[in-house]
């Protein structure tokens, strides 16, 4: 049995117990997957307080939907889809995703170039926060979460062409906002996106 099939088998048994309402099984699923699921919610929501409210609702939805899990994909992948869907719904409710904006700001992010990985993450977070809500959502769903344009179109109720257009705007703006990082030559095989000290 491969590691993946072992994981899926373990998940399956845990899920069976979780469907029956077994608290330990539910907690095991939460413990194993919360770091990833909650990170998805945090990214899409943007606002930490809002993300916290949505995350709880996302987990309740995941557990409610457990009987519909057919094991066709890994549990994490299945839960990830629910997390994205529920977060987008919650954002629509709060009118943060009311319309896909097309205007693009020309500001740049003022961050100090650094090779520290956590600072780089903060940098792309900060840069993505400067995008219009529509461009930001499409960028996160496509380039971070791995959705196709067709899937994004379905989730957001836009066309695939509209999704491509928003992604272009997002990448173009991020490229400018992060020019100090992406224009510089890489110091160590490009893994750290680090800017060398001048």
């Amino acid at each position: 049995m491969t590691k993946t099939s072992e994981t899926m088998a373990t998940d399956f048994l845990t899920i069976q117990r979780a469907i029956e309402g077994d608290e330990r099984a539910l907690r095991a699923l939460w413990s194993q997957h919360a770091p990833h699921i909650d990170a998805v919610v945090r990214r899409l929501a943007g606002d930490p307080d809002l993300a916290q409210d949505i995350a709880q609702e996302v987990w309740i939805q995941i557990f409610r939907a457990l009987p519909t899990y057919r094991g066709e994909s890994q549990f994490g992948t299945w839960a990830h889809r629910i997390a994205v869907n529920r977060t987008l719904n919650a954002l629509r409710r709060t009118r943060r995703l009311a319309k896909v904006e097309t205007d693009m700001e020309e500001d740049t992010v003022s961050v100090e170039p650094t090779g520290d990985r956590s600072m780089l993450r903060a940098t792309i977070d900060a840069a993505a926060a400067r995008l219009s809500p529509g461009a930001r959502t499409v960028f996160l769903m496509h380039d971070v979460e791995g959705y196709t344009h067709e899937e994004i179109a379905e989730e957001l109720g836009i066309t695939a062409g509209g999704s491509k257009s928003q992604l272009f705007k997002a990448r173009a703006k991020l490229r400018r906002l992060l020019a100090h990082l992406v224009d510089a030559p890489q110091t160590d095989s490009g893994k750290e996106h680090a800017t060398p000290a001048h």
């Binding site: 077994d22 919360a34 990448r171």
Partner: protein, 238 residues
């Protein structure tokens, strides 16, 4: 070749260039640098995907909410749910049977009033037949279990009402024998139709149920017909 358009360079961040574009990129440092910059943006996004962080949720508050909503069960409740899951399939079969019984009842009732088999099997009441329109609650059930419970209760009520009518319905007493004969003829026709359908799918549980229910209704009608005949008369047909 002219410089690649910015839109194309953005696409090439995670796309493959054509042969002509590849040739241009090999010779144009500016376009190559731009493409590399976009590729780095996309790589940073991919890094973000692998990012994990402390959970936003804490088990304490989530647990409370899950208990409130009935998602977490006590050990007794969990055992009960296991038992319930094991019975779901058989309950599903019984629901299908209940629907079949109801359908047979409706159709045989219509046939006994002289309707054709085709007409009797058409769903819904006739034009202006408001008495057949049931009042249906628009409210959702609280749970699947609640819906199943209502369905089972409805099945029991139907069976109880049918039994009562079989024993106490005197509305047809004056013309009992003729109505019962009509009903019997209709049930015979239904039994023959369902028997043919059963021949095509002998293992179909719903068709089995319809067939057996029809035969049961036929026997009951035969019994009533015998008792409705004038004293001294004997049943000589059917």
């Amino acid at each position: 070749m002219q410089h690649l358009l910015i839109e194309r360079l953005v696409e090439l961040a995670d796309g493959e260039p054509t042969a002509a574009e590849r040739e241009h990129l090999g010779a144009c440092a500016m376009c190559t640098a731009e493409r590399t910059a976009y590729q780095r943006v996309v790589a940073m996004a991919a890094d973000e995907r692998r990012r994990i962080a402390p959970p936003l949720t804490d088990w304490g508050s989530l647990r409370g909410e899950l208990r409130t909503r009935g998602i977490i069960s006590t050990p007794d409740e969990a055992a009960s749910r296991r038992l319930w899951s094991a019975r779901v399939a058989s309950v599903g079969g019984r629901i299908a049977a209940a629907v079949a019984i109801l359908a047979v009842g409706i159709v045989s009732g219509r046939l006994s009033t002289g309707m054709s088999v085709t007409g009797a099997m058409v769903l819904g009441g006739g034009p202006g037949d408001e008495s057949t329109v049931a009042t249906v609650s628009q409210e959702d059930f609280a749970s699947t279990a609640a819906a199943l419970q209502v369905l089972q209760r409805a099945q029991q009520e139907y069976e109880r009402a049918a039994l009562y009518l079989a024993n106490h319905d005197t509305s047809v007493s004056e013309v009992a024998s003729e109505l019962l004969r009509t009903r019997l003829a209709a049930l015979d026709e239904m039994a023959e139709t369902s028997r043919r359908a059963l021949g095509n799918s002998p293992a179909d549980p719903i068709m089995n149920q319809v067939y057996l229910t029809t035969l049961g209704a036929r026997n009951m009608t035969l019994g009533r017909l015998a008792s409705a005949l004038p004293v001294g008369s004997r049943l000589s047909r059917f």
